[in-house]
């Protein structure tokens, strides 16, 4: 492979990697406060994008996206209030199964509300053919938007968790829920907030990737699977690591395609997931105690 090709594959890897990373960030927020892997996270991306697309017919694009994010945030909160809160003392596994059920129901609802046709938001800058040249390889400007938005989200989240009261309260909940409660933190509202936050971030992510991936009612599940693979790979709870892990997986897939038949691309992520779960379930970058995750 010559140099421009290597750059092109790398850009390609970064393209998909950024999509995975931005999905994984949402998983981490909910996991932090509840220990639950929210399978419905992928659906938030699609709901956000679909809503924005419908709204963009009547209001300008930025307004449509903002409204879509708000509506999806509200949806996330509603889901938590109606479904998750009721199952207060349920085991983590039971909650995960509930989120699986939720992802299915949301997906079917989308099918009946919006039908099965594929649609997408217009490119934020440029058109479907615009391209930026970097070191001899080409990339669509929308990818820079995806990377940029991911960076902004991660930075904002880090600042939020470190410097704001609410953020620190959420972190307290994730460390030890009972202790946080003893400190007077309303842990139930922290859980609701975490769902709302991850839904909103998911919606924003869905909007920004929509021009690249196109949006269809059933793309939530495959995204979710890649998303939590990346989240686990980086270490659940660590958003910065999720971004790195996402980019890593994206690059791995792109270079797999360069050497082997493209048909094996999808298998890469699953193999990575299985290897991580068996050998290092706490993820590549985690500092947590590994023994807490194994039984024997």
């Amino acid at each position: 492979m010559n140099f421009p090709q290597i750059v092109q594959y790398s850009l390609s890897g970064i393209t998909v990697g950024s999509i995975y990373a931005i999905t994984a960030i949402g998983f981490n927020i909910v996991y932090c406060t509840t220990g639950v892997i929210n399978f419905a996270q992928g659906e938030f991306l699609v709901v956000g994008a679909m809503t924005a697309i419908s709204l963009s017919r009547v209001v300008p694009l930025p307004v449509a996206i903002a409204l879509a994010v708000l509506l999806t945030t509200a949806l996330g909160g509603l889901i938590e209030l109606v479904f998750i809160r009721r199952a207060r003392d349920a085991s983590v596994l039971r909650l995960i199964v509930i989120t699986i059920g939720l992802s299915i129901v949301i997906r079917e609802a989308m099918l009946h509300i919006w039908d099965e046709t594929v649609r997408s938001l217009p490119y934020f800058t440029g058109t479907t053919v615009s391209t930026i040249t970097i070191l001899g390889a080409h990339i669509s400007p929308q990818i820079l938007w995806v990377l940029g938005v991911s960076a902004v989200i991660v930075t904002a989240l880090t600042l939020f968790f470190r410097f704001t009261t609410v953020g620190r309260a959420m972190r307290a909940c994730s460390d030890d829920r009972m202790a946080a409660r003893l400190c007077g933190i309303n842990d139930r509202w922290m859980v609701t907030l975490s769902f709302m936050l991850s839904a909103g971030i998911g919606a924003l992510a869905g909007c920004v990737i929509s021009p690249v991936t196109q949006t269809q009612y059933d793309m939530g599940a495959p995204l979710a699977i890649k998303g939590f693979t990346v989240a686990i790979l980086g270490g659940l709870g660590n958003s910065m690591a999720a971004v790195v892990a996402g980019l890593f997986l994206g690059l791995l897939e792109a270079f797999t395609v360069s050497q082997f038949a493209a048909a094996y691309k999808e298998v890469v992520a699953i193999v990575v997931l299985l290897l991580i779960l068996v050998f290092r379930p706490s993820g590549l970058f985690a500092r947590r105690d590994v023994s807490a995750l194994r039984t024997a």
């Binding site: 199952a87 349920a90 199964v97 699953i270 997931l273 779960l277």
Partner: protein, 373 residues
């Protein structure tokens, strides 16, 4: 006395099955048997999964993978045409003992392939081996990590059957021949054999239930329930938790594989849609709604829900129904809709082991208990 009492439901079911046949025959509606037969085979998967999830307490989001392994192995072995190798000594030898058979497909073509019995054996062997290989590293994982890993397994099986030329890629394998069990009995989807197949399916299912009931009421079953109640307590009492969980995993995989083989021969084909995540989630939903540790509940719900789904009763909301079931059951009735009155027996085992554990912890001596397992 207890031994015979636990088989009463089997007898009752057998009578009900015959009764159903008579009712349908009287109403000239025996065509309903088609969906009942198909549902019975799907219920095999559910029974195995119930043992795994309800009694051993291990989640599995990839059980459709084992169903697919069983079905596809059988499909490929019974449809691969060995005519080119007709004269090879190995093939001739197998033919003489009936493991390679010659048959004519619907279009008059002569096919030389492995016999369905050989394929059946191979399918079970393969499913068991794969379950063992997957289970060894994965059973150690806790709670949702195990669920994730099984999900990954199911996905890999799906990708393999979807992508490989050998498995027919997206179109799957069709023209799968009938499975001649003995002279006069064959697993076949034709209308002529409808009643026969109804009974074959139910015999297999009831046999599986007898096996499962035996297991649950045996030493092994008690060990499993103690693991489910409290793994640490059971472990401390000398129960080899790892081995029991692994064995249950493999057994449940075998149940699923049997269902896969028989349904493939009944349908005459199999496709990648049998290995999807959605299918695995359905099986979990059925076990949940039947009652996690309730074999009969799982069976009844398995047959009922699959029957309704196959008849298109849920229309375009098919998947949504199962998703809703999952949510509602997990929220409001995590022990399922059909309760087991013997819950007392189950919880008393748990209580006993917990008490024993406490006694040990507090240093009081207990009567020596060797590890029975």
């Amino acid at each position: 006395m207890m031994r015979l009492r636990m088989y009463y439901p089997v007898l009752v079911s057998a009578l009900l099955i015959v009764a159903l046949h008579l009712v349908l025959a009287a109403a000239h509606a025996t065509y309903y048997m088609t969906q009942v037969t198909m549902s019975a085979y799907y219920a095999l998967v559910v029974i195995g999964l119930c043992l795994l999830m309800g009694y051993a307490g291990q989640a599995s989001l990839g059980h459709a993978g084992f169903f697919a392994i069983g079905g596809y192995t059988s499909a490929v072995l019974t449809t691969c045409n060995l005519s080119a190798f007709r004269d090879a000594p190995a093939i001739a030898a197998l033919r003489s003992i009936g493991l390679v058979v010659q048959w004519q497909d619907l279009y008059g073509k002569e096919v030389l392939s492995f016999s369905p019995w050989l394929a059946f054996g191979a399918a079970l062997l393969l499913a068991g081996l794969i379950a063992l290989v997957i289970g060894l590293p994965v059973i150690r994982l806790k709670g949702h990590y195990l669920a994730m890993a099984t999900l990954g397994f199911g996905l890999i099986v799906y990708r393999i059957v979807l992508g490989a030329q050998l498995f027919g890629r997206a179109d799957g394998v069709s023209n799968v021949p009938a499975f001649r069990l003995v002279d006069g009995l064959q697993v076949n989807g034709r209308a002529l054999f409808r009643v026969q197949n109804y009974y074959i399916a139910w015999v297999v299912v009831l046999a599986a239930m007898v096996l499962a009931i035996n297991l649950v009421h045996s030493r092994v079953g008690r060990a499993l329930r103690s693991i489910h109640q409290s793994e640490e307590a059971a472990h401390s009492l000398g129960v080899d938790t790892y081995r029991y969980k692994l064995a249950t995993f493999v057994l449940s995989a075998l149940f699923a594989a049997v269902g896969g083989v028989l349904l493939t021969h009944y349908n005459g084909s199999i496709g990648p849609s049998e290995a999807t995540v959605m299918k695995s989630v359905r099986y979990v939903a059925i076990v949940a709604v039947g009652g996690m540790a309730n074999l009969w509940g799982a069976l009844v719900m398995g047959v009922l829900l699959n029957f309704l789904s196959l008849r298109g009763v849920f229309g375009t909301y098919d998947d949504a129904v199962f998703g809703a079931i999952l949510i509602l059951i997990m929220l409001f009735a995590p022990n399922g809709l059909l309760r087991v009155p013997n819950l007392r027996a189950v919880s008393s085992v748990g209580r006993a082991s917990a008490l024993a554990f406490q006694r040990v912890v507090r240093g009081r001596t207990t009567s020596t208990r060797r590890s029975h397992g």
